[in-house]
Symmetry: C2
Amino acid sequence: MSELTERQKDILGIIVGSYVKTICPVGSRAIAKSYRQELSPATVRNEMHDLEEEGYIKQPHTSAGRVPTDRGYRYFVDHLIAKEKLGPHVAALVAREYREHMDNIETLIERTSKILSTLSEQAGLVVFPAFEGLVLKRIELTLLGNDRLLVVWVTENGFVQDRIIDMKEEIPGEELIRMNQFLNEELRGMLLAEVKSYVLSKLAQAGDSLRVLYRTALDIIRDGFPKVEQRRLALEGSRYILEQPEFHDWQKSRLLFKTLEARDSLMDLVQGNRDREGVQVRIGFEHHCEDIWDCSVVTTRYRVKDRTVGTLGILGPRRMEYGKVIPLVDFVGRRFGEVLEQWL
Amino acid sequence: MSELTERQKDILGIIVGSYVKTICPVGSRAIAKSYRQELSPATVRNEMHDLEEEGYIKQPHTSAGRVPTDRGYRYFVDHLIAKEKLGPHVAALVAREYREHMDNIETLIERTSKILSTLSEQAGLVVFPAFEGLVLKRIELTLLGNDRLLVVWVTENGFVQDRIIDMKEEIPGEELIRMNQFLNEELRGMLLAEVKSYVLSKLAQAGDSLRVLYRTALDIIRDGFPKVEQRRLALEGSRYILEQPEFHDWQKSRLLFKTLEARDSLMDLVQGNRDREGVQVRIGFEHHCEDIWDCSVVTTRYRVKDRTVGTLGILGPRRMEYGKVIPLVDFVGRRFGEVLEQWL
DNA sequence: GATTAGCGCTCTAACACTTTGAGTGCTAAA
DNA sequence: TTTAGCACTCAAAGTGTTAGAGCGCTAATC
């Protein structure tokens, strides 16, 4: 709507840049000094007044300098940001981390979260891949005691999930082995999202002789499928947020950690708008988790075989170096997807 | 060494009790009032003076009341503590938690950690079972691509671990299947700690015809065995510590969370003295993790089939209600072991 | 019309000072 | 051995003052 003049943009940029670095409200004198042309503080003050009227900046109290509002940050991210190139050491570090002791997918995920956290000095987040988006390589049934069945699922890229189910009726050993073989033959190579409906349709078509087989198979798949709502999330480096001066306030940090422990809301927060491509930035009030309106999230989706299966990113105070963080999240998101695929 | 008189014990008990509840240094007047017999503050002061000389209590500053020292807490825990009986709701709550949606061992562990945390209002900790202490039920080899092998281990109680290894030379499909069968036949029912040495001894005895087979088996077991040093730890409710007034100080909470994120030192801290039976209490300086000398840990080992396989407990400020927490940890430790075994 | 210098005003942060109350230690008396 | 009483100490809370940063406004200047 309201267009900013070039000079206003410059000033907003300086305010954001300075505030992000120092956390001190930025005064007109300081801006005038760091402005490229000669300019008096008074002029700057006038411009600041206008910027404040438009809601890009505000004063914490009368006679203080200005700090960016959410709107200011948003404008900065959308129009003014100079995305910094990642240093060569970043790629090197990521490569090294991914080369060494990569024991399984879980380790990979946790390490990725740690990478994000260390490089951004914020909290790093990686949502575990959506199981339904992966391709089944193998399924193994193991009887525990007489009435419990352990179902182990292995996907093509080496992701392992397991679930224990109660059995209504006992199944004899040989029959279980046959069932296991049957499941593998029928389902191998199939997208996990489609497994259930596939068996369901087969059951509908099946003649009497196969009916029982499909029936049991369906039971096992239905009950033994890893729970969607229980999707995991790797969170590393939440301490970085605690170190930010704006969280020295005890009430704030208390609330923050309470929210971080409630994985559900955190998951919602991270997943954000599922349709959008590329790196997403949600600043302060823009997201709906009101307990952490003091925070921003920068996320991106990662893909395996051209299918989006998860989200990763970072969480930090609103006041963060978006210019650094955005390219980082973008880069790590791509690399992570690649590594996840490579194992296939 | 130094024996306390009955009255001194009473006074120490009152000081600990009151301080734990209120966090305020306890003065002589307050003690005199809550003492069972009539007693003047002056007398109490004399006793307090002696207690201070012996190192059981101290003054934060001149003209303040007294607070317990580590030694005071230790004496309290060893001699004065009145272990509270667990309310019936505790057993009920635990039973309910364990009945519902217990999807797999991981969920069980995380839920147990949460139970500990919720009921104690401290941070709850559960170290994942030591893989070596469990009994092998099944092992599955899956080829990922051409040169990576996924090894999935299943223990008798349904604990699943996996690890991806690089293969020096390709193994053809049929051979892998034979190897898989061979491993299962040889190793099923064996304690995982003994697996490696067993195959090693077999290799030594083996004639030329079987040599290659055992050689390959050994490679797979050696490389594919889950890493010991990477043992996981479920930590829930660290926010409760943040809520304690003594951690309103930003420096302290900062340090605490830094330490909590370094899982290695946390693991050392929790495991404590491996030889001792029953509930262990380590107060402040008694443990060796100096970053959290403001905290105490209450832990117990849990067992599967009479074999100690892990530790669980709670972590909180020194000032905690030991009388409540110790029975809780004891109870949950037993129940957890039982449930873990039941799945066998 | 845009820019600037200058002035008065406001508000915070820091510091010094005082007061209050809790709590102690010590001594002398019971 | 216990107690009453008094002097003393210290932290916490409140008060007042000052210095400085920064603003808005107005009038002068470019």
